[in-house]
C-alpha cells in the first residue's frame, strides 16, 4: 500500500542497500535499549558459567576468562527497533573457544544465554558455534561500557540484537528451545533480520 505523500528522504546509497535487511534503516550512532536499569557489574564480581540444564560444567572468573584465546569480529548489527549499524568492531572469546576450554562438544541443540540482571535469551546452539558468535569484551578496542552490556556481552551478530545479551554471565544448554525474556513477551523465537522475524508468529 503506497502511503499518500510519503517520499523517503533517507534512502541509503545503493551500494549499501544489500547490507540493510528489510524494514531496517542505517544508523550512525549506537542506540541503547534495555528492559531495566543498567547493572554495574564489577570485574571482581564477574563470572561466567557454562551449564547443561541445571548442572554447571565450568566457571571462569574475569582473569581466567580474559586468558582464553581472543578473536576479533567486525560485523553489521541489526536491532529489532529497526536500526542497522555497519562495521561494529568487537573483540572477545568465541563460543567455540569457551567450549574447547571446558573440553566439551555442545551437548544439546539449544542454548539459553543468561545475564546478571536476570535477562535471558534463547539461541540455537548451531548459531553460536563455528565462529558465528562470541562473548565480547571489547568494543572499538576498549572495554564495553555498562550501557552497552559491559563488562561482557554475548555477540550473535546475524540475529536481531536482543539475542546479543548484555551483561552475560552464562550459557545453559537446554534439551528444548526454551523462550527467553523477550521471546516470552511477544518477540520471535529465532529472530533472523533477513527474514524479518521480529515478533512471534512472523514466518
Amino acid at each position: 500500500m503506497v502511503t499518500r505523500g510519503f517520499f523517503s528522504g533517507r534512502r541509503p546509497p545503493s551500494d549499501t542497500d544489500e547490507r540493510i535487511p528489510p524494514g531496517q534503516y542505517l544508523e550512525q550512532g549506537f542506540p541503547v535499549l534495555s528492559a531495566g536499569p543498567t547493572p554495574r557489574v564489577r570485574t571482581e564480581d564477574w563470572s561466567f558459567t557454562l551449564k547443561h540444564g541445571p548442572r554447571p560444567i565450568k566457571s571462569w572468573n574475569w582473569a581466567e576468562f580474559n586468558a582464553l584465546p581472543q578473536s576479533k569480529m567486525t560485523r553489521d548489527i541489526h536491532c529489532v527497533t529497526a536500526w542497522t549499524k555497519f562495521n561494529t568492531p568487537w573483540q572477545g572469546v568465541l563460543i567455540d573457544d569457551i567450549l574447547a576450554d571446558a573440553g566439551i562438544e555442545p551437548p544439546t541443540a539449544f542454548t539459553l544465554a543468561h545475564s546478571f540482571d536476570g535477562y535471558s535469551t534463547n539461541v540455537p546452539t548451531r548459531d553460536l558455534v563455528t565462529g558465528k558468535a562470541m562473548v565480547a569484551l571489547l568494543y572499538e578496542g576498549t572495554p564495553i561500557t555498562p550501557d552497552h552490556g559491559g563488562p561482557a556481552r554475548l555477540l550473535v551478530p546475524h540475529l536481531y540484537f536482543w539475542k546479543s545479551a548484555k551483561w552475560v554471565n552464562g550459557l545453559q544448554f537446554t534439551e528444548r528451545d526454551e523462550p527467553g525474556f523477550w521471546e516470552l513477551r511477544g518477540y520471535h523465537i529465532y529472530g533472523d533480520p533477513w527474514r524479518e522475524q521480529r515478533y512471534s508468529g512472523d514466518p
Binding site: M1, V2, T3, R4, G5, F6, F7, S8, G9, R10, R11, P22, G23, Y25, E27, G29, F30, P31, V32, L33, S34, A35, G36, P37, T38, P39, T81, A82, D117, G118, D147, R176, D177, E178, P179, F181, W182, E183, L184, R185, G186, I189, Y199, S200, G201, D202
Partner: protein, 248 residues
C-alpha cells in the same frame, strides 16, 4: 514454558480519524485500525509508510490512549527534524489518510490495575506517552491504586498532556503529579525546576502510602539512565524498575 506462542498481529491498514497539536513539537494522531484490537497500557504499535518506489520506513510508537478509550488508537508523535517518519505525520498526514500499522506489541513495559501498586512512573519529555496510557487506564477503571508520576520537561509549554494531567492531579484520588522543568522556574508550588535527582525521587515516593511495588521509567537513553540510577540511589529495588528507552 512452551515455544508455542500466540501469533502477533499482522500489518493492517489504519485510518487517521483525528489530529490534535499537543505542544509545539508534539502532535497526537488517532488511528482507527481496519481490524480493531485491545491493547495493554504501555504497549506500542509499529507504523509503516510506503513510498511509490516501494521503499518502506517503519517506526515504533507507544500508545497514549487507554485500552478502554474506544475512540481510536492515540499516538503522540514528536517531530524529529532529521527523521523520515515523524516529518511525514507533522507535515503531510491528514484526517482520512491511511497508513499501515501492526500491534499491539511489547509485553514488558505494561501495567494494568490488576498488577496493583503503589506505582512510580517517571517520564522525560515524550517518554510520558506510555505512562499516560497507564494513568488514563487507572482513571477509566476508577482504580484506587496509588500512582505518582514524575514528569520532566524542558519548559511548561512542552509538557505533553499537561492540562489533562493537572486535572487528574486535582481529583486527589490517589494519583499524584510531580512536574519538573529543567529550563524554566516551576509554575506550581510543589513542582521543581531541575533535573530529576535522588532527593526529588525520595520526595515523590513519600507521596505514596508505602514504597512503590512497581516502577516504570521512559524517555531518552540519557534520561532513563540518570533517572533509573536516581531511583536505585533512593532505595527502589532494581528488580522492580522497568525501562523503555529511545534515541541514541
Amino acid at each position: 514454558m512452551s515455544a508455542e506462542l500466540e501469533p502477533q498481529s499482522p500489518w493492517q491498514t489504519a485510518t487517521i480519524i483525528r489530529i490534535e497539536k499537543r505542544t509545539p513539537r508534539v502532535t497526537s494522531f488517532w488511528f482507527r485500525p481496519s481490524r480493531p484490537f485491545t491493547h495493554l497500557a504501555g504497549q506500542h504499535v509499529d507504523v509503516r509508510l510506503t513510498a511509490p518506489d516501494g521503499y518502506q520506513a517503519r517506526r515504533s510508537y507507544s500508545i497514549a490512549s487507554a485500552p478502554e478509550a474506544g475512540a481510536g488508537i492515540e499516538l503522540a508523535i514528536e517531530r524529529l527534524d532529521d527523521g523520515e517518519v515523524s516529518p511525514f505525520f507533522h507535515d503531510v498526514a491528514e484526517v482520512g489518510d491511511e497508513i499501515e500499522l501492526r500491534g499491539p506489541l511489547g509485553g514488558h513495559f505494561v501495567w494494568q490495575v490488576s498488577d496493583g501498586g503503589p506505582v512510580l512512573l517517571v517520564g522525560g519529555g515524550s517518554g510520558v506517552v506510555p505512562l499516560m496510557a497507564m494513568v488514563r487506564h487507572r482513571t477509566l477503571r476508577n482504580s484506587a491504586v496509588p500512582v505518582v508520576l514524575m514528569l520532566s520537561a524542558r519548559v511548561w509549554d512542552e509538557v505533553i498532556f499537561r492540562d489533562e494531567l493537572i486535572a487528574l492531579d486535582d481529583r486527589l484520588d490517589g494519583f499524584d503529579l510531580v512536574l519538573t522543568l529543567t529550563r524554566e522556574p516551576a509554575k506550581r508550588p510543589a513542582d521543581h525546576s531541575r533535573r530529576i535527582d535522588v532527593a526529588m525521587v525520595i520526595e515523590a515516593i513519600e507521596r505514596l502510602p508505602k514504597p512503590p511495588a512497581l516502577a516504570y521509567v521512559c524517555g531518552s537513553n540519557a534520561f532513563v539512565s540518570a533517572a533509573a540510577q536516581a531511583l536505585i540511589d533512593a532505595g527502589v529495588p532494581a528488580g522492580i524498575i522497568r525501562t523503555e528507552r529511545y534515541g541514541v
